[in-house]
Symmetry: C2
Subunit: 381 residues, 2 copies
């Protein structure tokens, strides 16, 4: 199998449009040139729309984690407390980061279950400089209540940090309306750019509370903010110039489609996957309630009983369709389909059709077609 000739349906890195790949491969320019500054400015302007914010935006070279790291290292000194809410792998990463720099107060829920907001508030009542959460928990396919936690953060005067890595641009995400002081995304999710850039928005309220010096030299948000505010915006360290070319092109594609329309399309696509799952008798993994929703960017489904990860994902891979498995403690128990960025209706239908063939082979369904029909009905609605 040609590794390039496959359909990538994982929740990031996602498929990159040919237009964006062409921009990626433009000849190199100096990162200290006016030309680079123009590209960086243009990206920031469009990213503000993507984030639904008026806050300052910076782009850091690194994975999304460098943005999470920058937020915590910039605010949390050795004796500072940060409440870290988790119901999956990436929420737990905030706890690890918090512990690295200061005192993490973890509010931990079972993977894939909704936050209990009373427990979050109880933790904040103990006093904390910040509270951090993941909006879209990629590992379990849940969208967590950022708006509600934002209200609690304001009430208890804590800086509100949200990992929006697999969310912003895919799910509804309103940075300013929800009072998010630091919001983070990564280039390889709804931005539909290859991985290697983290985007971070910072409110004046967060900036006022920054430590005099970030606990990290490389992930120094203050240094990035200083550089972006120069008359010709720059980055403090050499940026991944090619990925900026790609991001600029991808943001223009999103603007052409319309940021709100892109989100609405993504929502419909995830709904079509959920509808297909139902038609095929596959259970969704996460639990939802009135303020916790199935994710629109990644659908996590329970592995059908008696079917192994190798049979399901391995079988789909043989047909050229790549979907994700479960991570860490739910490895082998779930599989996940990403719907972000440039994912098309035909990508989804091919994925569901391939899944159906495996399910027939494994004796889980009698014949193909019901999933494709259910998905198609939603996509055409």
């Amino acid at each position: 199998m040609d590794i390039e000739d496959t359909l990538l349906m994982i929740p990031g890195p996602v498929k990159v449009a040919p237009r964006v790949l062409r921009a990626l491969s433009k000849p190199m320019i100096s990162h200290r040139s006016g030309d680079f500054s123009v590209i960086y400015s243009d990206c920031c302007k469009l990213l503000k729309q993507f984030f639904e914010t008026k806050n300052e935006i910076v782009v850091m070279t690194g994975s999304g984690t460098v943005g999470m790291d920058a937020a915590v290292a910039g605010l949390i000194g050795h004796d500072d407390k940060i409440v870290t809410i988790s119901n999956g792998k990436f929420g737990e990463r905030f706890t690890e980061i918090g512990e690295r720099y200061g005192k993490a107060i973890p509010v931990k829920f079972e993977w894939g279950t909704p936050f209990d907001l009373d427990r979050v508030e109880a933790a904040l009542e103990g006093g904390a400089k910040a509270v951090a959460m993941v909006h879209n928990e990629t590992s379990v396919g849940l969208t967590n209540p950022a708006k509600e936690v934002g209200k609690l953060a304001r009430k208890h005067d804590a800086v509100f940090i949200v990992d929006g890595i697999s969310s912003i641009g895919g799910n509804e995400f309103f940075t300013d309306e929800w009072g998010i002081d630091i919001a983070i995304t990564g280039s390889q999710k709804a931005l539909a750019v290859p991985p290697g850039l983290a985007v971070v928005s910072t409110s004046p309220r967060a900036e006022e509370r920054f430590l005099p010096k970030s606990a990290s030299y490389y992930s120094d948000l203050k240094a990035h903010l200083k550089s972006v505010r120069k008359s010709q915006p720059q980055t403090p360290f050499t940026p991944a110039v090619s990925l900026f070319f790609a991001m600029q092109e991808s943001l223009h594609m999103a603007a052409e489609e319309g940021f709100a329309l892109r989100r609405a399309r993504t929502a419909k696509q995830a709904q079509s996957v959920r509808s297909a799952a139902k038609a095929l008798g596959i259970e969704l993994f996460p639990q939802v309630n009135e303020h916790t929703h199935y994710s629109n960017t990644v659908t996590a489904m329970k592995m059908p009983e008696g079917v192994t990860d190798d049979k399901l994902r391995g079988g789909m891979k043989k047909q050229g369709v790549i979907v994700s498995g479960g991570q860490d403690l739910i490895k082998g128990k779930i599989f996940r389909i990403g719907t972000m960025g440039m994912c098309s209706s035909s990508d989804i239908l091919r994925t569901i059709q391939t899944l159906e063939l495996i399910l027939v082979k494994e004796g889980k369904i009698a014949s193909c077609g019901a999933g494709v029909e259910a998905a198609s009905t939603v996509l055409e609605s």
Copy 2:
């Protein structure tokens, strides 16, 4: 002017070969796939030759600075001392990083002047966990004595950290022979890949002395070493997959040319630039001695008297040739020409010819040709 249709002669990011740009723009793959592991393994194998080392290699997503940060954050706790030697901008960066995590003992020399090894030894006699230096000081065009400092580091039992960012693969650089415990390079220098990856080699001796936990979450060398040693090598956080495609291709190109032959070609190219400078009455900026040499990857020259940066570099830019200026305290006082990676003889001749036209215009030389002839003589020798 089309910003893409220019000759980039700066000391990084450097020109990227079309073959490498095509690899860069391959469709995305999962970073957790066996396919990615194969690419990462192949890169590490070739990078060991590039570094002249048997030590473990990891590739981190970020600028070269993330590698410097990882080395210091992994070793230097709050009460640990690190001797940081500097004679230019990037040496001073090690002092800043050392101060962020522990106690930096700066041994500072005037920009562009050789180290006084007695002063380095005196600092080490005070006791230090590590000593850090820049091998090729990009800001001033000097190659510093890594071998000699390595001996002092061993004698005083300090971990030896060397920024080889604009050096490795261009200058002679012998990681193991010189006793370099942690060596660092960036993708955008002699590797001739776009910026966004840092490569770090770590000796067992350095690993034994790592802090229980790195002071940085993102720049965590221990986490990277753990991931690369899995049966299928990985990175702890999402890597810049496209840049790995490019790096693999570029390393294959270097292997085809031969790593030692590549260095010899680079040396001859820098010599040709120095020879042209001499023929044109342009003084080299740095001072050299028996163990400190003119750099083979970047030639720093004094701005001819009465010629402004705008006239010289601005004038060359109008002709489509981009060279670098001085940074910080020597801004406007020097200009720099990079010779690394895929730089060709014709690139150098076009650059010198363009420089000559400016010098004629500014009344510094009577006619064109002497610089081109001098460079050509060296290139054809």
